[in-house]
């Protein structure tokens, strides 16, 4: 490999350090999962006794968490719909159409991903404040879409590039109209990518903090803002339970994306199987 005659001692040392770094990445997550079932939610690790109290406290009377969760879910749903509409149209334009200033459009799409989120959030605050839209779930969803839609566009570009255009051409040559092609050929092949784009848009909005914080009011507090507040202001031990739920949710979403990709991966290959046996390589589904 890199060092052709690497010593055994060197290899063991490298493996040990790499394991420590992997622990460094995994530990903060593992510790929350464990602590959320511990009777002492703040200190003392490992826990002395186990409890479900923090999970029960989430849904107790007067708890702020259900409202925050509902608001975040609502905002994330809106944002996902907006992002998908923008994502599907933009990815179509960037992969299928002739587009003047294509690289400028592409740069515009990448913009929100590289500009510091606090700057985007500040700009959105200055936009929505004069419109008296602070605290409106719609404003928060519109703001989140600025961050979520570029991700949807990138995923859908990769998806559409992975679809062999000859399948669409073949359908057209047999007299299918454009709508029919989109509905019967492109959409079924793009469905896994669209589901992935939807899931990632949802997570992006659901976890978003900066924009939510700038655009929220006392009555509209999203889940991440509530988590932040309870970490800085009022000490609320049920925040560990919320964090554990957020972790489970993210892992579940990633698993879902993997599952959908795995289910969708074989589809196009079977359609193009004649060529594959001849040895012509087809462009495979590009990874996100």
């Amino acid at each position: 490999m890199m060092q052709p005659r690497s010593t055994i001692a060197g290899r063991i040392a490298l493996t040990a350090i790499a394991t420590v770094i992997l622990l460094f990445l995994a530990l903060p997550i593992a510790v929350i999962l464990v602590t959320s079932f511990s009777n002492n939610a703040f200190a003392a690790f490992p826990p002395e006794a186990w409890t479900l109290n923090w999970y029960k406290a989430l849904f107790a009377d007067g708890s702020k968490w259900p409202t925050a969760l509902t608001l975040s879910a609502f905002v994330a749903c809106l944002s996902t719909v907006f992002s998908l509409i923008i994502g599907v149209t933009a990815a179509t334009a960037l992969t299928r159409g002739e587009l003047p200033l294509r690289s400028a459009v592409y740069a515009l799409v990448l913009g929100p991903l590289v500009i510091p989120q606090i700057v985007t959030a500040l700009g959105l605050f200055l936009l929505f404040e004069p419109a008296a839209m602070l605290g409106s779930p719609l404003a928060i969803a519109l703001g989140h879409t600025v961050l979520a839609s570029p991700i949807a566009v990138l995923i859908l570009i990769a998806t559409l590039r992975g679809i062999d255009e000859r399948l669409e051409d073949a359908a057209a040559s047999m007299g299918a109209g454009r709508l029919t092609i989109a509905r019967r050929v492109t959409f079924p092949l793009a469905a896994p990518g669209m589901i992935a784009a939807a899931i990632f848009s949802f997570i992006t909005s659901f976890d978003e903090f900066y924009i939510s914080q700038f655009l929220s009011s006392v009555d509209t507090v999203t889940l991440p803002v509530q988590v932040y507040n309870s970490l800085t202001f009022d000490i609320d031990p049920s925040v560990t339970a919320v964090s554990a739920i957020l972790i489970a949710f993210a892992v579940l979403a990633l698993g879902l994306v993997a599952l959908v990709r795995w289910l969708g991966s074989g589809r196009q290959d079977s359609l193009l199987s004649v060529e594959n046996t001849v040895g012509v390589t087809t462009p495979g589904g590009e990874a996100v």
């Binding site: 052709p4 149209t89 936009l127 991440p224 970490l231 993210a250």
Partner: protein, 298 residues
């Protein structure tokens, strides 16, 4: 569209077809362009205008002078320092980890990459909270160190610069590992074997062959984590003390607590300019790397 196509001559002129595709492309690009112009580009420009405006609406550089003096200047330096430390650590750890993973068998490599990538999709707020639990006086880290009779334990690992850098480094590591892993997998192993066959030692091979090949990747990974750390807010605010106030914290305070929008806008623009300068450097480095690859290939 389909109807017009069938009523026209069987083979439509090329030019017409091209213009129709152009029209469709522009039409489909319209939503994203309009959306981002209104909700992303326009707000950034209004931030810029606000940062240059006086209370009575006339032009001023007062807010920039304010942002670049006294406490605000020291916050800017703190931001640069913490970002540089974060970039350095995430680069070193990222290099070691990516290198180790690139030597693993595919199954183990995939598992290790899973541990690297999955945390990236978990809210930074949640991961920061995990660190707060871990690094506290009675947290796992200090308990272990005390149990091992490490002199000086328990250590103060939170609410100081060490805490912030631990937190931000763990947030940036997935980026550097992913970038460097890609670069390392692209290294042609035959070149290393060739050098070894000519009698080069391991250190020489690493320094003269391997490092130059991954250097552009290292530079862009370091720059990227530096840029991403610049605008970071959650981890420094929750894991640092007052001495670790970063520019994003200051922007947030000015908007939510002091209603000082102009000052916040000026600091936002400074943060934006620093980011753009960093991105320009990334681009420069990658084009430099590409030209070098081309030369070595020929």
């Amino acid at each position: 569209m389909a109807a017009t196509l069938t009523t026209k001559a069987p083979a439509p002129p090329r030019k017409l077809l091209a213009s129709r595709r152009t029209r469709a492309g522009v039409l489909y690009a319209l939503p994203v362009v309009v959306y981002l112009l209104v909700l992303f580009v326009y707000p950034i420009f209004s931030t810029l205008f606000l940062s240059l405006k006086n209370a009575n609406g006339s032009f001023t550089l007062h807010w920039y002078a304010d942002a670049l003096t006294g406490v605000n200047l020291s916050v800017l330096f703190t931001t640069l320092r913490i970002s540089a430390e974060t970039a350095l650590f995430s680069l070193v750890f990222g290099f070691i980890l990516a290198n180790a993973i690139s030597r693993l068998k595919p199954l183990w490599a995939a598992l290790a990459m899973l541990i690297v990538v999955v945390p990236h999709f978990i809210s930074a707020l949640v991961r920061t909270y995990g660190w707060i639990i871990l690094l506290g006086d009675k947290g796992l880290v200090n308990e272990t160190l005390t149990g091992l009779r490490v002199p000086g334990a328990p250590f103060q690992l939170l609410y100081n610069e060490l805490g912030v850098v631990i937190g931000t480094t763990s947030m940036m590591l997935p980026y550097t590992v992913l970038l460097l892993y890609g670069v390392m997998r692209g290294v042609d192993r035959r070149l290393l074997a060739a050098a070894a066959s000519m009698g080069a030692g391991r250190v020489t091979i690493f320094r003269r062959i391997y490092l130059p090949m991954v250097a552009p990747g290292l530079a862009s990974a370091g720059l990227l984590s530096f840029i991403l750390s610049l605008g970071y807010y959650i981890t420094p605010a929750l894991m640092g003390g007052p001495k670790q106030t970063m520019i994003a914290t200051l922007i947030n305070q000015q908007v939510t607590k002091e209603n000082q929008w102009n000052g916040a806008a000026a600091q936002g623009v400074i943060l934006l300019l620093l980011t753009l300068a960093g991105l320009l450097l990334v681009k420069l480095v990658s084009s430099l790397g590409a030209s070098r690859r081309k030369r070595s290939a020929s």
